[in-house]
Subunit: 227 residues, 2 copies
């Protein structure tokens, strides 16, 4: 369902060009569980933004569910993003003036779900990430790991068919991190696809396949035996 | 040099009160290397903000270098912070419109160092964290781990006598994380004090003492044998 063909991404900075991705190709099928790893600055978040249709490649093709994203209109791209993809950003990207509850409800507003149903589902998923007692806190009234969990709850509320999680446990102690991984496992067991960026080996161990990037290139792509 | 006596911190939220710290006491002497650990939301960052004089306790006393911080004026507090303390924030807190170089130079502006000397020292410390080739990038032109390393460089540039690092390696792969820990070890070997919040056991293993918080209370305070 995800077919990345010779993806390049460049950033022009004055006279310099940063080659964040230098030709990366891989396919990910429905219901795979893939970890993307690699050193800091190797291009993981850049790749995730392209997979999640939040950015376009400088060169190369990205085919999502059979559609070449270059040929989709902005409306169609937004539709795919809101219906199919759940995104946990490395920087959380929460609305600073909204409560945890309002932040988690946001994807359902795009799906046209009515407000009592939205609130009910947002409370459920906040309970799942252990933040029922922090529902009315704004992001700056939460700890770092609590903000991260609100970002995870927001990504899960729409039961996405593709979950893109960029370092979802970086700010969590191991017990809380494992609880988040159990939620991902539930989504995976229901037939959905999980793509996870992490630098923690024990988090990557949940995946069945590890793609390693280095300096904007694919260094290795390994199927891992089930534990 | 750090004497925290029955520190409480409360946040009033409408009718609710959040007890982030419920009476925490410990002493840290010159040149100790302490890790503060505990579950997400247990009060680690709140404690670090009080130790770093960025916040005041609701109750209890905080004595820094023999001074009760309650009795210091705002100017005196700012003086202590700028001269003695290096802070790596969990949220990095970089100036979004300034380059990596300008962000790292910032503490030296407060110290009245002239600009050619500031630039030279900022380049040196950016080289130490492996970002010499990203000096002119703004924070949104850097990867998550690169932003974290700029925050580390900014905290080290003033050779602080107390380094407060809140989850300094959360976004770094293990090799880059180890490089940062080597820089901390250098600062420690030069006689300075290191206080580090982390949830990663292999990072905490660099410390000689581990303070564990849970639900705003001190759960344990253990001296660790040297490896
Ligand atoms: N401004 C605030 N208003 C209300 N509650 C707050 C505020 N800041 C923090 N809290 C609450 O205080 C508690 C402690 O927060 P703190 O940031 O110290 O936790 P932490 O141990 O650093 O967690 P993490 O490991 O997730 O970063 C949390 O439950 C949080 O929700
Ligand atoms: N807007 C931008 N302008 C210029 N360079 C950029 C920009 N965004 C990213 N880069 C550069 O592209 C490279 C890849 O960045 P990316 O965020 O994908 O790395 P990453 O693998 O996610 O790293 P980390 O593990 O530190 O989060 C980095 O060297 C970074 O400096
Ligand atoms: Mg990244
Ligand atoms: Mg914290």
């Amino acid at each position: 369902i995800i077919d990345s063909r010779d993806i390049h991404k460049e950033y022009r900075m004055g006279t310099q060009t940063v080659h964040a991705l230098r030709g990366v190709s891989f396919e990910i099928k429905q219901n795979e569980y893939v970890a993307i790893m690699g050193p800091s600055g190797s291009g993981k978040s850049t790749m995730m933004n392209i997979i999640g249709c939040l950015d376009t490649p400088s060169k190369g093709d990205y085919i999502l569910n059979g559609h070449d994203v270059k040929k989709l209109t902005d409306n169609q791209l937004a539709e795919v993003r809101n219906r199919e993809i759940g995104f946990v950003f490395q920087t959380f990207n929460l609305l600073p003036r909204s409560t945890a509850l309002a932040n988690v409800e946001l994807p359902l507003i795009y799906s046209g779900i009515r407000s009592s149903e939205r609130r009910k589902r947002a409370i459920e998923v906040l309970e799942k990430v252990g933040l029922a007692d922090r529902m009315h806190h704004k992001p700056n009234e939460l700890s770092g790991g609590q903000r991260q969990r609100v970002a995870v709850a927001r990504a899960l509320i729409n039961n996405p068919s593709i979950l893109l999680a960029d370092e979802p446990t970086g700010n969590l102690d191991s017990k809380t991190g494992q609880e988040i991984m159990e939620l991902f496992e539930e989504l995976h067991a229901a037939g959905n696809t999980i793509i996870l960026v992490t630098h923690e080996e024990e988090i990557a161990a949940h995946a069945r396949r590890i793609i390693r990037l280095r300096d904007g290139l694919l260094e290795s792509d390994t199927i891992v035996a089930a534990p």
